[in-house]
């Protein structure tokens, strides 16, 4: 019942590298810290020192264990993959056709025409939670304490904030990531750094078949390649062929 604006040329969003994310939750905590003092605060917590603490997080990290797989021969040959841990940071994907907006009965949930950011106007929100039911990505965060729906704002109060040095006009999660696994930019511009990164690394949208056209992209973990040393000791051993540059090159590429 809330209309979407005409599709914007500019599509601001995040590109998250699952190959280099180490699951440290710095993005989640940094997000909570910035947004506590920003336009979307307070980011509330219940039972903070009790048995079952819970709270509002615009960004959450889920960790999964990947089972080891055997080597695969053929044209798309892959090496045997060891058991791995995959860390998956989850936040609003700022969809191009977000169901959370069209389902909103009051107009509180809206998509910005100029850059595609999906926001909640808390003064119009009645806390009916229809948007959290509609979002298939679980990106909405209801604050029982405040009685309103909250969500990732893509740090709209940072990215245009002229009180911040230009280099800091990025979402807090991007700024704080110690492995630089998070990138921010205009995914509507095929020439932008983030678009080129997505093209180069085969970035994917989450559940595109649902038709909400998420803007954020995830870069898949790089599989271990055929012929690559399959244990750490041989990579750490002294170089034998190709010299130290080749040896270090292998280490860096891992």
């Amino acid at each position: 019942v809330t209309s979407l604006p005409p599709p914007s040329k500019k599509k601001l969003g995040l590109v998250i590298d699952l190959d280099t994310c180490v699951g440290c939750h710095a993005c989640a905590v940094g997000c909570k810290q910035w947004n506590s003092g920003g336009i979307a605060g307070p980011v509330t917590d219940e039972q903070p020192y009790g048995k079952d603490p819970s709270g509002v997080w615009f960004n959450r990290v889920h960790s999964y264990e990947l089972a080891p797989t055997d080597a695969c021969a053929g044209s798309a040959a892959t090496a045997a993959q060891p058991a791995q841990t995959l860390h998956f940071p989850r936040s609003c994907l700022h969809c191009e056709t977000p169901a959370c907006v069209t389902v909103c009965p009051t107009g509180a949930s809206y998509k910005r025409a100029e850059d595609g950011i999906v926001l909640v106007d808390e003064d119009k929100c009645i806390g009916c939670k229809l948007c959290s039911w509609a979002c298939p990505y679980g990106a909405r965060e209801y604050s029982e304490v405040e009685g309103v729906m909250k969500k990732c704002t893509l740090c709209v109060d940072r990215i245009y904030n002229e009180n911040l040095p230009e280099a800091e006009r990025e979402p807090a999660c991007v700024q704080v990531c110690p492995t630089r696994a998070r990138h921010f930019g205009d995914l509507g511009d095929p020439e932008s750094k983030v678009s080129k990164l997505v093209a180069e690394r085969g970035g994917v949208a989450l559940m595109p078949e649902l038709g909400y056209a998420p803007v954020n992209r995830y870069l898949p973990p790089r599989p271990r390649r055929v012929g690559q040393d399959d244990d750490a000791t041989s990579t750490a051993a002294a170089p034998t062929t190709g010299g130290i540059a080749a040896w270090l090159g292998r280490l860096v590429k891992r």
Partner: protein, 294 residues
């Protein structure tokens, strides 16, 4: 300058802070001085009781030897069956004075001596714990309120332990009760956990039923401050660094499921305010009003 091209390249890449030559001392004259003193040279000599240890381990060249706890466990297990059952023992410090009693409960039956302690047990920090180093707050508690003992599923199968079973972990020093969790991405002969999440009840004014106190645990209770033979500090002989990673354990399903052990009387600090936290509400526009307040 030795290795100049590499150093310049590495400095450009940010691997090293400067391209100054890196000198690795393979032969350590400092260690050799200690060894010579222990062998009787010079005016200053190590105390008699430590001379053999200094002469053996202060080798000027890199050497490898089996960690003391690994090497000594079998002989101790033979000589002192009480010790491998984890019965309360009075470990003696190097100087012969009595130190703290063991936390061992003696619940586990003895096994064949050769596989009395078949696993290494180590502590590490998961990435998210780096945020919690020396601190605790309501946000970090929502990432983790308790720890687990991680083990490879094959190790679980071998010892009859299912994912999330409660188990007794026994070292030559004592027994603790913890909850196990499967993790395929680790060595089958090693179990690990992280310390610092486990808390004595009442610590940091957490609720009495907070998981930090009921399910969290410290591996430290298994680590003796002296070696199994009680002939020296359980520490690296050169640096004095505590030998936490030398710990050897065995694991078995426990009858005491549901709570970690040992447990101690709660600290008398009272409990923190349990009202919701609303950090930042004061920064909101004056016209904004929480629905909860209206």
């Amino acid at each position: 300058m030795a290795n100049r091209d590499y150093l310049r390249w590495a400095q450009g890449f940010g691997f090293v802070g400067s391209d100054a030559p890196i000198v690795l001392q393979l032969y350590s004259e400092t260690l050799q001085k200690f060894r010579l003193a222990a062998q009787g040279h010079g005016a200053v000599k190590p105390p008699e009781a430590h001379r053999e240890r200094v002469a053996t381990y202060f080798d000027p060249l890199p050497i490898w030897y089996e960690p003391f706890e690994h090497a000594q466990i079998a002989s101790v297990a033979h000589a002192d069956p009480e010790a491998i059952r984890g019965e309360p023992v009075e470990p003696r410090a190097v100087d012969g004075e009595s130190v703290h009693p063991s936390t061992g409960s003696g619940r586990t039956e003895p096994q064949a001596v050769e596989d009395a302690f078949p696993l290494s047990a180590i502590t590490q920090r998961p990435m998210f714990m780096y945020h919690a180093w020396g601190s605790q707050n309501a946000w970090l508690r929502q990432i983790a309120t308790r720890n687990w003992l991680y083990l490879h599923p094959d190790t679980g199968t071998k010892y009859g332990i299912a994912d999330e079973d409660w188990i007794d972990v026994t070292s030559h020093h004592g027994t603790i009760t913890v909850q196990a969790k499967y993790a395929s991405n680790m060595q089958p002969d090693t179990v690990w956990s992280w310390n610092a999440i486990g808390k004595r009840r009442g610590a940091w004014k957490l609720a009495k039923d907070a998981p930090e106190g009921t399910q969290g645990f410290l591996l430290n209770h298994l680590i003796s401050d002296v070696t199994p033979k009680r002939d020296s500090a359980n520490a690296d002989p050169v640096t004095g660094q505590a030998a936490w990673f030398d710990l050897r354990v065995r694991i078995a399903k426990t009858a005491h499921a549901g709570e970690s052990a040992p447990q101690f009387a709660p600290l008398p600090y009272g409990e923190a305010d349990e009202r919701p936290l609303r950090y930042g509400v004061q920064f909101r526009n004056r016209n904004h009003r929480s629905k909860a307040e209206s």
